[in-house]
Symmetry: C2
Subunit: 362 residues, 2 copies
């Protein structure tokens, strides 16, 4: 674990993360073969059930209700023209979340999730604080990051504050009874920050992790790669220190997501990871505390090329492959019913003995 002596809150959080309960997972693996189905015939759903038992330590885990937390923040690097959309769209989309009209609102309702939007660093003023169903929490650390091309994205204290804000949001959800954590993000230019973090954390060439984000053309893509390469060169990071990487080229919402995963792991809750940005945040959390990895379930494989690199770094196989690239936590929310079904399988299926079905094989 990296030294976190200057960040006692973060250090305490990481120290609360225990390895997942392998014995509980093994017990569930054995129990699955007693259920009325050919052994192994539910494939990856059985692997999910085993992991959910290992995460929760329970023979009959439950993931209902889930929490969807969307962290929003802006990125100073947006002024370099790396995104298809202007920075004002971040605040506009937060207003859309508050009104219940975004994709994550629709998908959160589908799974009866508790939704919370957390402003950890939106640059523009926000028009309202949402509604009871779609609250917007003000946890703003600063008005967007600095432009990583000319200065660090944020100071180290702000990076720690972002991680802490994410952990606090996750803990609010768990305290409200949520049993599964889905975090998403909104932040114009955040694929630029995530790509930079991923390149630094994995050593992968920038050109191999950068994609078109919300939809830029090939000229802008080349420019985006150049901006990230120059920013990384300019920042002089200790690449073995994840908090410094976050501070140098990261984003406030990405830090918050990582902090939420740390809290999820510390509380023994499954964390259902969304796409590219979320997986980079998950990688950051695992760099801070490797035992977080066991608590992560991966919802979907994004179209962003960097997602494959991030998934490989975490040895992760996502549940869904639907060629999506929206963010907001949308892919994770869409995958959630499979976690719930894995729990239902353990909780509700009869064993061969109970059902009087002859399990002997000829």
């Amino acid at each position: 674990m990296p030294p976190l002596s200057d960040a006692p809150v973060l250090k305490a959080l990481a120290e609360r993360v225990r390895p997942v309960d392998r014995a509980a997972g093994d017990a569930t693996r054995a129990y699955l073969d007693t259920l009325t189905k050919p052994p192994g015939s539910l494939g990856d759903l059985e692997a999910l059930a085993v992991q959910l038992s290992a995460i929760t330590g329970q023979a009959k885990p439950d993931v209902m209700p889930p929490a969807c937390i969307v962290f929003a923040a802006d990125h100073g690097v947006a002024v370099e023209g790396v995104s298809a959309f202007g920075q004002e769209v971040t605040a506009q989309m937060v207003a859309n979340f508050a009104a219940g009209g975004a994709a994550i609102n629709a998908f959160a309702r589908c799974i009866a999730a508790r939704l919370e939007v957390v402003d950890v660093g939106v640059a523009n003023d926000l028009p309202d604080t949402g509604s009871a169903d779609n609250p917007v929490v003000n946890a703003r650390i600063r008005r967007g990051t600095g432009n990583m091309l000319t200065e660090p994205a944020m100071g180290r204290e702000d990076a720690v504050a972002a991680l802490d804000a994410g952990a606090q949001a996750a803990n609010r959800a768990f305290d409200a009874g949520c049993r599964c954590l889905i975090v998403g993000e909104m932040g114009i230019a955040n694929t630029t920050a995530a790509s930079a973090m991923l390149a630094v954390l994995t050593g992968h060439p920038v050109s191999g992790v950068v994609g078109t984000g919300t939809g830029i053309n090939s000229v802008k893509l080349t420019h985006k790669i150049s901006v990230i390469e120059r920013a990384i060169d300019a920042r002089w990071m200790d690449t073995s220190d994840p908090v410094e990487v976050l501070a140098s080229v990261g984003g406030l919402e990405i830090g918050a997501m990582a902090g939420a995963y740390l809290a999820g792991a510390a509380r023994g809750k499954p964390c259902l990871v969304d796409g590219f940005i979320a997986t980079v945040a998950a990688l950051l959390a695992c760099e801070i505390c490797p035992d977080v990895r066991g608590y992560l379930v991966f919802g979907h494989r994004s179209l962003e090329p960097g997602h494959g690199v991030a998934l490989q770094a975490l040895r992760a196989k996502p549940i869904l492959t639907m060629d999506m690239r929206l963010g907001e936590g949308s892919g994770a929310a869409l995958a959630f019913p499979l976690l719930n079904a894995a729990c239902a399988m353990l909780r509700e299926m009869a064993t061969f003995a109970d059902a009087g079905v002859d399990a002997s094989r000829s």
Copy 2:
């Protein structure tokens, strides 16, 4: 369309199937680009939404509540030792469905589906008729099929009766208000029948479509291939007549599934297809009436090798790939929440204009 002059019920059913509504699909495709997300960023979910609009003719389709219908029947060819389980397991599993303890019971509850089990040809006596939540309908045509190695699986009249029983079950579900059709099956040795049908319908070599089903070893697999090859040789089918293929080497539950898809298409309802057996039934339905194809959504890619062949014959890309091979409709039920989410996206997301989000791209 093949001649169905000897089967007026089936002919009338096929004639009620209209091509899907391409104009409605195109309108939805255009509408999706006005919603608050980067165009195309929800990938396959957007394609699903387009198809659901084309199927239903509605701008805002709804798939709730879904119907799960499990057709059960036995196979005379089981005496040849092609399955890992004995034939008595079919009736035992129907009892398990009736008691609510099978995988499909758990998954149907997860999606609030109307579940019905239909006995179209179980060989053994059934202990009970289920409960209000898990009714078992007696529509038994005969006590299992004949052994296709020594005689046709069933007479042509029985094949038509199986198709009709399936259509009636689907219509019961639609009359009860169901808006999406999931059909599954239970029948020891039915991968043998489905493999034989698939080889005949596609001309694919038997060895390329046969798998281990519920889990046989390699010696039994070689035997299973030989049984199917010899059965096909012995039956002298007109391979261009799908009803004759069903009668010669098929199964009563496979015919019922195909009939259910025909009824779903005739009623303008999306049919969410499960794995190998279900896809062979879907292929049969499309051979009877090609316009059925547009109403089919494919839930998952099974581990059975024949499933890939059947999917290719239908040019189908399934939603989930989770290495499952259970049947019962389980894979389709697990994919259903994605259809519901596609509808929620259309129904609940705000447009850029409504939300005041700036959609202009730089």
